[in-house]
Amino acid sequence: MVNLTVNGKLVQADEGEMLLSVIRRLKIDIPSTCHHDAVEPYGACRLCTVEITKTEWNGWKNYVTACLYPAEEGLIISTHAPEVIELRKTLLDLYLARSPGAALIREMAAEYGITATSFQKVPDGDNCILCALCTRVCDAMGFHAISSVNRGHGKEIAPPLKEPPPDCVGCLSCAQVCPTDFIQYKDKGKTRTIWGKKFKLLTCKDTGRPTITVEFAEHLSRQRNIPADYFEHDHESHRRQLALTLGKLAEWDRKE
């Protein structure tokens, strides 16, 4: 255990615990757009930046990303110091120049009093803020289907050679975690399309409702030993079946 001060309050944390988790535990709200508990911290968005100092630093201060900075004895943290607010404002101003269409960016910027960017608009900007949460989650799921390509201005998230990614199983995790809803997919009838790849959706034998993709189910059966017939029904049909089975047992009980 180490002792820290967050916004004037004395708190304890596990040594090595990231500051963001300490701050969240205190229910202090700071933006942490590129953070997700399913993956390692990455420090891409910089929005979780906080001010740190120590008594022995003689007034020196540092600005660090809370998601990547481990707790250590004697740290004095300020999550909303004027310099931190300024920094966050500049970042949001820049994000607004690139991704003005992203609702989350607009909302966060508005919270910090910015409604329009003061920078020149990025001519071919889009809603991707390049936080790489999608690629990291895809890696954590074990698929490695997408990655970031190119550098600088041309950087973007894409499948290899920008072709339908062979390793994608259509689980949609990337789209689900995307903070700006940039990743598009389409479910139409029994077909799902994402990253330019088409998937067949399994459908429930009773209700006919689509569930997950054939490829994803096969992966789960193969890698995680889930019997393939578990995937033949949707959850509602499974529930009804369980009710009938338990109902029969209950009936025997009544007759006993």
Partner: protein, 144 residues
């Protein structure tokens, strides 16, 4: 674990009080959540079964989760889903052979019974004691 969540279908009248209790105790941002429990017809008229997660020993949802978001709470025995870890891939929803991981489309979440952290609220409100949270001796069966 000396207390168990016990379901006795023969006592269930299908009143759906459990459903209300669950939805309200799992509210999201002040709005009722999706109920993790609800009574379903047991096949014959008047026979109901409150269907809820069985907290399986070797659970398919746990095996299916590729980011380890579902884990047993050693204190309550419940398999709890960590919302901050979940990536909503729907693997657990598809894999559970009892249909007890549920997609809450309204709040873009996957939900399952967490035994309310040890004191199931549905059992507190069940008027007929079809759902009960009680001390259990090892010879008792039908425990869920």
């Amino acid at each position: 674990m000396d207390k168990r969540f016990v379901v006795t279908p023969n006592l269930c009248t299908g009143c759906r009080t459990c459903e209300l209790a669950c939805a309200f105790s799992h509210s999201v941002n002040g709005k009722p959540g999706l109920s993790r429990i609800y009574p379903l017809s047991a096949g014959t008229d008047e026979a109901w079964v409150p269907v809820v997660c069985l907290q399986c020993e070797n659970a398919a949802c746990v095996k299916a989760c590729l980011v380890d978001a579902i884990a047993r709470n050693p204190e309550t025995g419940a398999l709890e889903l960590d919302y901050d870890r979940c990536v909503r891939c729907m693997a657990c929803v598809a894999a559970c052979p009892f249909g007890c991981s549920l997609p809450d489309d309204q709040h873009s979440l996957v939900v399952k019974c967490d035994l309310c952290g040890g004191e199931p609220v549905c059992a507190m409100f069940c008027p007929t004691k079809a759902l009960a949270h009680q001390e259990i001796c090892s010879s008792d069966r039908k425990s869920a």
